[in-house]
């Protein structure tokens, strides 16, 4: 099988203009808020308090600059929703510029500081003022600072604190049309930048040099953030050469560094950019060589990858479950086509990896309970590895449609696919 390289950075740029114009952020915010309140109804939750940026973005559309975790911990963005479609959420933010224009001014407040005991008391006072007696009901939170964890039972003795992560996972799982377009934007930006990186990839460059090219390129193409320290993992030929692993499988992910890439090395790359909070996920295996040559065993690895992926793709349709996808992947027989500490599939949205997860220790019952619905966006990432031979790992994004699926990712597989 051969795939013609129909894509290029220039083609990505052309696509981006139309895609960006097709996104209606106001409609997206309205639909997500309604879905949040509906999920609160299903979970019988009175108040939903969120302290993590993706959930706050989902609930009310507020954005803050992506940063290392400390900044978000000590000056977090926080939102609170009551179970009423007519009452807009309240937002506490260090970045008023990122508050959505449709949120009434009296619903936007200076930031809270719940990492500190005084901050938790102030937070409870503020919430009491804003949501009233609902705070004595069922309160779902998506995150607890250590101070909240130890103090909330005393400060809210009447309330029942429940898991808000589940409520929002439920709301967020099926994407609206605008959300899918945001993911598509992020993916096209990511792929556009990956063409630049491929051009820079040659023996003698450092992993960090590839990141330099990548960072320059994603922002030229319109990324609103870089979500992951880009991975260009040089894969050890033999397991014994690599980091020690606890399960005797290939080490993945390893952290990027300033190591010089040498001729003939296999690079497992994995990158994620952000567009309006939505992630992309581009994973490929690259061969860095002056004269690229793949052994017949390495070509077989790609064929095996292709077969696993195609089997899985056929099952990506409404009514199937995550378990059906696991079974499709295992249909090929032989060693499990993914690394067992990882997964073979997950969803993507405001988080880089969202449920449902496929192939993890969450178990078969969990996977069977996860039914595919139109609007879910899957990342499928079989990984075919054999000690001494090499690896082929690649990721593809599929959105579930009414009667099947549509592939969002469109990046070539290089010499493996005979290109």
């Amino acid at each position: 099988m051969s795939e013609a390289p129909v894509q290029s950075k220039a083609a990505s740029v052309r696509m981006l203009r139309d895609l960006a114009a097709s996104i209606d952020p106001a409609r997206m915010r309205r639909q997500r808020f309604l879905k949040t309140v509906e999920a609160m109804e299903r979970h019988d939750v009175d108040v939903l308090l969120t302290l993590t940026a993706p959930n706050v973005n989902y609930v009310c559309g507020a954005r803050i600059p992506l940063s290392e975790s400390g900044r978000e911990q000590y000056v977090p963005v926080v939102s609170v929703v009551v179970r009423d479609k007519d009452r807009p959420p309240h937002l506490f933010t260090p970045t008023p510029q990122g508050a959505p224009p449709d949120l009434p001014a009296e619903h936007v407040h200076p930031p809270l500081v719940p990492e500190f005991a005084q901050g938790v008391r102030q937070m409870v006072d503020s919430l009491r003022r804003l949501v009233g007696p609902a705070l004595d009901g069922k309160v779902a939170v998506d995150d607890l600072t250590a101070a909240m964890y130890t103090m909330l039972p005393e400060l809210l003795p009447e309330a029942t604190i429940v898991n808000g992560v589940g409520v929002l996972q439920d709301a967020r799982m099926v994407k609206t049309e605008d959300e899918v377009r945001c993911i598509r934007m992020a993916q096209v930006i990511n792929e556009g930048a990956a063409y630049d990186v491929l051009e820079a990839l040659r023996p003698g460059v450092r992993e960090s040099d590839l990141t330099a090219t990548y960072l320059r390129s994603i922002y030229e193409l319109g990324a609103t953030g870089n979500a992951l320290d880009a991975i260009w993992q040089v894969t050890p030929q033999m397991l014994r050469d690599g980091p020690h692993t606890l399960n005797g499988e290939l080490a993945f992910v390893t952290v990027p560094n300033d190591r010089i890439i040498r001729d003939g090395e296999l690079i497992m790359m994995d990158t994620c950019v952000e567009y309006l909070g939505y992630g992309s996920d581009l994973g490929r295996t690259w061969l860095c060589a002056m004269r690229p040559h793949l052994s017949s065993q390495q070509r077989d690895q790609y064929q095996r990858w292709r077969e696993v992926f195609e089997r899985m793709r056929e099952e990506v349709r409404p009514g199937r479950t995550a378990l059906d996808l696991r079974r499709a992947a295992l249909h090929i027989g032989g060693p499990k086509p993914w690394l067992s500490h990882h997964y073979i599939g997950h969803n993507i949205g405001l988080a880089l990896a969202e449920p449902p997860f496929i192939g993890t220790d969450l178990g078969l019952d969990y996977e069977e309970s996860m039914e595919l619905k139109p609007g879910m966006v899957f990342v499928l990432e079989p990984c075919i590895w054999e000690d001494g031979v090499g690896v082929y790992r690649a990721e593809e994004l599929l959105v579930v449609t009414e009667n099947g699926n549509e592939q969002i990712s469109d990046f070539p597989h290089g010499p493996w696919a005979g290109e």
């Binding site: 978000e72 979500a227 300033d258």
Partner: protein, 396 residues
């Protein structure tokens, strides 16, 4: 000020990383002792880096709580949840690595197993989630789970010698990124492109993670110019857009690098293009420098965050950003000058070895604003500036 290079060399001692890890671990154990903690369960990546030297895959933003490192005080053991030894320092034996799980119930069983008899003791957690709160309580009913973040904050507040060397390198890397940005500050370049210029420049030095998706934004010259509400505070734009810069635009430039986890936060306000700078803008910069110097004078052992805040209290309209914050492994407390943090400002007492970023914002209707930053180290008798970047056109 001496500054080490980034490579390892044999002809001189640069940063002693074994000492960096040992000093941090000792400070962590001391804090555990003061707070009566038998064990710490750490989920925050910077706390795990501090206590255990563990470098995890970097993902931007705050993640939900999941146990990453466990420290047991009496046996001085460190345990990590990771599937391989990459990113694990040599001080952690391989049999102290444990496979991470996706199912929190399996992770809880693993945590309980690692803790052994300590699971009946006083255990600090640095964060929590509703799911783990329930599982921990159910599976370890005899443990007393308490706030362990307080102890970690205390341990991290005063920097060791090696930490200060890392912070200096991080600053130098971010300043290099900023030089690339000011050389690209020509009419037509977009705010967003400058984020890429900064990222590319630091990655060329081998440092692949910006501490924040930086602010390279045109400063509003009028309160009506930006649609967001600022609670009577000075208007500021922090999120970049696809906005091309025009000659004469006043641009707030701030970003930072993460060198081995140590963050930098560099900020300057620059004018785009070659036009002369107006006297009003020079005045604004002078006013910024005056406020900054007053804040710097307030930074000495024994003073509190409230002293720093008072030094800048004459600024009107007030800044929507914190006036100052701590820096170390990432952004750290104190966060000085927030409306909700007055009490905290008072409680935060300066000691030698603390590192602060001072960042007043001075804005005037019709003129614009100056948002620049300096990083200072509290010394025995005052403070010392660690940052070193010119003020550019505004300073004349």
């Amino acid at each position: 000020m001496t500054l080490h290079g980034l490579q390892g060399v044999d002809y001189e001692e640069r940063i002693d990383f074994a000492r960096l890890r040992a000093d941090r671990f000792r400070r962590c154990l001391d804090a555990m002792e003061r707070h009566g903690l038998d064990a710490l369960i750490l989920g925050k990546p910077w706390n795990a880096r501090y206590a255990a030297g563990f470098r995890n895959t970097y993902v931007a933003g705050k993640r939900g709580f999941s146990p990453t490192a466990i420290v047991i005080r009496e046996s001085r053991e460190i345990h990590l949840f990771t599937s391989n030894s990459n990113g694990v320092p040599p001080t952690v034996p391989l049999d102290h690595l444990h496979l991470p799980h996706w199912d929190p119930a399996n992770t809880t069983a693993s945590v309980k197993n690692v803790l052994g008899p300590v699971a009946r003791g006083r255990i600090g957690v640095d964060a929590m989630s509703p799911v783990y709160a329930e599982l921990f309580k159910r599976e370890m009913p005899h443990a007393a789970f308490v706030d362990g973040e307080v102890a970690m904050r205390e341990a991290r507040a005063v920097k060791t010698h090696e930490e200060i060397e890392c912070l200096k390198i991080s600053l130098a890397v971010a300043e290099a990124g900023m030089y690339a940005v000011v050389s690209s500050l020509n009419p037509g370049v977009t705010e967003r492109e400058l984020v890429g210029v900064f990222g590319e420049a630091i990655a060329r030095l081998g440092v692949t993670i910006p501490a924040v998706d930086g602010t390279f934004c045109v400063v509003p010259t009028s309160g009506d110019e930006i649609s967001t509400r600022q609670w009577g505070q000075a208007p500021f734009r922090e999120l970049v857009e696809d906005r091309p810069l025009a000659a004469g635009d006043l641009v707030a430039l701030t970003s930072g690098a993460l060198y081995l986890g140590y963050a930098s936060d560099v900020g300057r306000t620059w004018q785009c293009g070659d036009e002369g700078v107006s006297p009003q803008r020079r005045d604004l910069h002078r006013r910024w420098a005056e406020v900054y110097e007053a804040m710097e004078l307030a930074c000495r052992p024994g003073n509190t965050g409230a002293d720093v805040w008072r030094a800048a209290a004459t600024v009107n309209p007030p800044s929507p950003m914190p006036l100052a914050h701590g820096i170390g492994l990432g952004f750290e407390p104190p966060v000085i000058g927030l409306d909700q943090g007055r009490e905290l400002d008072q409680e935060w007492v300066m000691q030698p070895g603390m590192v602060l970023v001072l960042q007043p914002y001075v804005w005037r209707e019709g003129v614009g604003g100056v948002f620049s930053k300096e990083t200072i180290l509290i010394t025995e008798d005052g403070c010392r500036r660690l940052s070193n970047f010119p003020y550019g056109p505004l300073s004349g």
